[in-house]
Structures are given as C-alpha cells and as structure tokens.
C-alpha cells in the first residue's frame, strides 16, 4: 500500500546513535577498550536486530536471543576472570580489561539487538530509542546536579 521507497540515511544515523549511546553507557563503568567494545557491540546489535526483525522469527525468540547474548557474555567474563591460564597468558591487567571488553560488547550488543528488534516490529517502542540515549547522556553527568557545576571532575576539570 505504501510507496516502497527506503531511506538509508536514517538507518545509518540510527546505527551511529547506537554506537555513541553504547559508548556513553559504558564510559562511567569501564576503561577505554571496554568502551570501544561496548560501542561496537551496540552498533553491531543494531544492524543485526534490524535485519533479523524482517525475518520470520518470532519476536519473543529474538528477544531471547538478545538475552542469551548478554548471559553468555557474563558467563565468559566469569570464566575468564576465574581461569588462571588466561591471566597467566595475557597478564592480570590485560586479562581483566579483555574480559571487561567482552562483557561490555556482549551485554550492549544483546541489549541493542533486542531494542532494535522491538522498535522495528512495534513502532511505539521507538520511544525507548529516544529515552535510552537521553538517560545515558544525563547519567554521564549526573554528578553536577544541585549546583555542583565543577563535577564530574573528569569532564569539568579540563574545561575549568
């Protein structure tokens, strides 16, 4: 019924928004490798979610796949941190950062995948696509509230 023209620019912008949101969500919790991994995971999840939303798989199955992705990332994270051979091979600090990066990628990837599936299949879930980035950005600088404009220090210090 509808004119079958497809706009690719919004699709690319959306993937960029997922990338940035993934990074912003991981920024207060992780170091740089994990932040990059989270951003990549979120972008990848958005692309995969958009594609699989057009497949005949049921929404609940796809949401389960997103959840499974996050759970698997958590399991791998736990496994790597408890395995002595892993830290012996990479060194304790690098092993910890790598495990963190895998966890961030898996969790953000799974979350972005599920969100993208939902918004593709049910238009009104697009509200979440707006609210999640807004909350991500505001939480990043939540320390400045109540007049504490010199906080958070990592952002305010270079400016002030």
């Amino acid at each position: 019924m509808t004119n079958p023209s497809r706009l690719h620019l919004p699709t690319m912008l959306r993937v960029c928004a997922y990338f940035v949101t993934g990074a912003v969500l991981a920024l207060p919790l992780s170091r740089a490798p994990a932040v990059v991994a989270a951003a990549l995971g979120a972008a990848l999840g958005a692309v995969l979610g958009g594609r699989l939303a057009r497949s005949p798989y049921r929404t609940i199955a796809l949401l389960g796949a997103g959840l499974l992705m996050g759970v698997l990332a958590g399991a791998v994270h736990t496994l790597l941190l408890s395995a002595t051979s892993w830290s012996a091979w990479l060194g304790p600090a690098r092993a910890y950062r790598t495990a963190d990066a895998l966890l961030a990628m898996g969790v953000l990837g799974g979350g972005a995948f599920a969100l993208r599936v939902l918004t593709s299949r049910r238009a009104w879930f697009a509200v979440l696509e707006v609210l999640v980035p807004v909350f991500a950005f505001t939480q990043l600088v939540v320390a400045h509230r109540d007049g504490a404009i010199n906080r958070p220090f990592e952002i305010a210090d270079p400016i002030l």
Binding site: M1, T2, N3, P4, S5, L7, P10, P56, Y57, R58, A61, A123, W124, A126, V127, V130, L131, V134, F137, T138, L140, V141, V142, H144, R145, D146, G147, I149
Partner: protein
C-alpha cells in the same frame, strides 16, 4: 448470508482501527512525539528545575524545540498540499490485475523540504499498491520523466473502480509529527483478471462439443422410424400402408424422439474468496473461444445471460470489486451498499442464490444466482453448462476437513450444514442435469500448510501458504465428484491442468 462471530469482531476491529486512523490523521503529533514531549517536560520539571541538572535543561529544551519545529513544518506542508494537491477526474482506462496502471495523479515529491517527507497510499479500493512502471521502452528522456512523475497502481482485485481515495501523509524524518489528508479522484477503471500463464483451454472445447450427451427436449430430428396408432388429424402421408394391408390397423410413422447432441454452452462465473484465478480462466475461455461457437455467459452480479464478448468481459469485471460499493464522503470509512438497504451490491433474480461477501479485505458483495441464470439460459433449449467456481467454498472451515466442508454460518443441525453457499446451488443444479454440468476451478498454485515441529512453531511464525488451500480444494473436488460433476482445475501460475497426480504430489510435498 449472516456474518460469523469472528467476522463481526473483525468488522468491529476494522471500524475501530479506521476511526483511530481518522483521529490520528488530524492530530499533528505522533505517539512518539507525545512521549518525547512528555519525557522532556518531566525532565525539565524533576531534573532541570528541581535539581539544577543543566544537561537535562539543554536536552529537554532541545527536544521540545525540535518537536515544535517538526510540528510547524508538517502543518505548513499539509496546508500547502491541501491547497495545491488535486487529482484529475474523468480518466477512463481498461487494465488488468497485477499490471502497473497509470492514474494521471501526480503524487508530491519533496526532495527539497528540510526534515519533512511525503508518502501516500491508496485506501479505496483496497488491495492496491503503488507500483513502479516498466519504462524500459521509453527512449525520450522528457517523456520518461513525465511518466515517472505520475502515479502507477497495481490492482490485485478485478472490478470496476469508479473512484480512488488516497491518504497522503506528511511527516518529519524523526517521526515526531505527522498529518494525513485524503485525496479523492473520480475515474473509470475496468480491471480484468490477469490471465497469467493460462493461454489456451482446450479441454473446455470438448466440454462444449459434448457428443455423448443428449437431451429429450431437443428439436425433432432424425429418421421416421417409430410407429403409433393413427389419430384423427394425422397427415395421411405418414400412414404406414403396408402394415395396414397386412393387419388392417392404421399406424402412422413419426420421427424418432430427438436425442441430438447439445452444441450450445452456457457458462457462469461464481464469485467467492480467492476467485481471481477462476475469473482469469473464464476470461481466457471467452477470449479464446473455448466455449464453442454458440454460448451464453453470466456472472455473479450479472445474472442475465449475454452472448457477446464485450458484455461477457464486463460481467467478469462486475463480479469483482464494484465501484458503487464506496466509502462515505465524510471520510468515516463506513461502507455503503446498495440503495435498497439490502446490504448487497448486486442483487437480482428471485433471491434464491447465495450472497458472497469477500472477507479478504476487498469488501465487495455479490449474489451468486446460478439457478436463476440457468433457468433463463436453458429456456432457449438444452445446453452444456460450464460453471467457473472458486477453489474455496464459501464458509469453509479449514480446521474440520475430516467432516467435509462445513459452512461456518450454518447451524450444524441444519440439513444444509454440509451443503450451503454456492456449492449447494451447484449440487442442486447438477441433480436435474445429469452429466451436463462441468466445473472449472482456477487456482494460483496449490499448497498445503507445511507440517512443522514444535521448535519451529515456537521460534518462527507460520510461513504464508504459497497458493490456494489444498485441503479445501481436495474436499471440494470430492464433493463435486460424488455428485457426478466433471471438474477441471487449472493453474494460473503455470498454465497447467492439475490432475489427481498433481494434487497428490502437492500434498506429499507439504
């Protein structure tokens, strides 16, 4: 025909959906826009002002500003379109289904407008999509541009289209604001069913020849071989004088009772769900002369027999979507039927036939008046009867194939519980015309729903069945065969006649 509970609920939901859409069409903010505006306002109230959150202050004002800007742009764009956009009236065209057809309407294309985009869809008739034309043969670039600027529609249902209602939607690229307006166009489009791969129908010709079939009401013909006693008034030249000389009894010769072959064919197209392929078969049969030289044709909505090709094709067109089943002008989305309030778009004859109401979204209603048609057609003498029938009986309940097809609107204790709708009228017609009724069923491929495992059912939605319902068709064929009716199944996709082997193979493939 009374609507089933499920149909009633479907109609109610459809009405609510239409009303909701009407309301949304005149409110410039979408659900997303409302949610974003509300979120921004709450953010301002509880974070920006209450807790001096400067980020929330900036973000919320930015969102509210963007929302206001998009609403303004969409409203201005809609007003501009409302003033400028017109669809030319009076176009007259003959076309066929599934073929891009130009309507002379020039849809707006706004490549230049910032943040705003325009799209449009066709609301009436239903099952119409905006298509891209095949302009590979057009060399002149200017002509090509002119043709590309026009609207081309692909119509899935045959019928008479007398007006088109379009919904032109102006929205912003973020999805915050949207307005829609209706554009009406009066035109004359006669849409025939697409013949697909059906090119020739030789089997119908043999139906029409029918040399093994005779009728006692045939014209007096043949040698004078029968004898009877002389009655006053009999011509003396017919008296058998040799018998009179031998026995003294007056006997007269009389012509043998004619049992001549019927050379005339009467054909009728029954309307029903998924009847496009059947209508295409009727069209091909008429155009290729497969009904023989002497024929009469009628269709649902046109019970009066006709014997010329243009009128017969017009009857096929009328049996589909009808332009006089139209949406109300107030835009409420209500469908108005015929003026007598009967609820039928086409109603004629003595009222003994069944009314077909399409439940596949086309909304058209037709009366299958086979008995009335046959009575009129056979008043001129005996004839072979060819009935073009849909592949799905009306009222088919696919969950109960083991009990035969069952009308979903007929009580189970009714004598017609297993025979109602056009099938029962067909069976009644066959009773008095032993062997003279042949049924042609058109399908767009046949397929049975694939058997799926538990995991597949849980993870994947059921794939759409590519073709007509094989189980319904099988039961229908068995019912007709039990009544001694010859049936021919033709596949519009491949042009093949489907025999038992084909149907068996399709069943096994599922």
């Amino acid at each position: 025909m009374r609507a089933t509970k499920r149909e009633l609920w479907a109609m109610r939901f459809a009405r609510v959906r239409r009303l909701t859409r009407r309301v949304r069409d005149v409110v410039p903010v979408t659900t997303l826009g409302v949610a974003v505006g509300l979120g921004a306002a709450l953010g301002l109230r509880y974070f920006a002002f209450a807790r001096l959150d400067l980020v929330w202050l900036v973000v919320a004002y930015a969102l509210l500003g963007l929302l206001a800007l998009t609403v303004l742009l969409v409203v201005v764009g809609s007003v501009w379109l409302k003033v400028r956009l017109r669809a030319p009236a009076g176009e007259a065209r003959k076309t066929q289904t599934d073929t891009p057809t130009m309507t002379a309407f020039q849809p707006p294309r706004w490549g230049f407008a910032p943040l705003v985009r325009v799209r449009h869809e066709v609301l009436v008739p239903e099952r119409v999509t905006v298509a891209s034309p095949d302009l590979s043969g057009v060399r002149d670039p200017e002509q090509r541009r002119a043709l590309e600027a026009l609207e081309w529609l692909r119509i899935a249902r045959r019928g008479e289209v007398r007006h088109i209602t379009r919904r032109v939607v102006v929205s912003d690229v973020f999805g915050f604001a949207e307005l829609a307006l209706r554009v009406e166009q009066q035109l004359t489009l006669d849409v025939l069913p697409h013949p697909g791969a059906l090119e020739r129908m030789p089997v119908l010709t043999s139906f029409a020849a029918g040399d093994e079939v005779a009728h006692p009401l045939g014209a007096a013909d043949g040698d004078r071989v029968e004898l009877r006693r002389y009655q006053p008034g009999d011509p003396a030249r017919l008296i058998h004088w040799k018998i009179y000389a031998r026995t003294g009894k007056l006997l007269v010769r009389q012509p043998e009772r004619s049992l001549t072959q019927t050379t005339r064919t009467v054909a009728y197209l029954l309307a029903g769900p998924r009847d496009e392929a059947t209508a295409a078969a009727a069209r091909v049969a008429l155009e290729q002369g497969a009904l023989g030289a002497d024929w009469l044709f009628g269709a649902a909505g046109t019970p009066t027999p006709t014997s010329d090709l243009p009128s017969a094709l017009a009857a096929i067109v009328r049996s589909g979507y009808s332009g006089d089943t139209h949406r109300s002008g107030d835009g409420s989305g209500d469908t108005h039927r015929s003026r007598d309030g009967s609820g039928d778009t086409h109603r004629s004859g003595d009222g003994s036939g069944d009314t077909h109401r399409d439940t596949d979204g086309s909304g058209d209603t037709h009366r299958n008046d086979l008995e009335s048609f046959l009575t009129q057609a056979e008043a001129q003498g005996p004839a072979q009867v060819v009935v073009f029938a849909p592949p799905v009986p009306s009222g088919w309940v696919s969950s109960r194939p083991a009990h035969g097809w069952v009308s979903s609107e007929t009580p189970s204790d009714s004598p017609l519980s297993s025979e109602s709708g056009w099938v029962s009228s067909l069976l009644r017609a066959a009773e008095g015309r032993g062997g003279r009724i042949h049924v042609v069923i058109g399908v767009d491929g046949v397929a049975a729903p694939a058997r799926r495992g538990v995991a597949s059912r849980l993870l994947r939605a059921a794939p759409p069945v590519q073709g007509d319902d094989l189980s319904a068709l099988t039961v229908l064929l068995q019912t007709l065969a039990a009544a001694g009716i010859d049936t021919l199944v033709v596949d519009r996709r491949t042009g093949q006649m489907l025999g038992e082997a084909h149907l068996q193979a399709a069943q096994e493939a599922a």
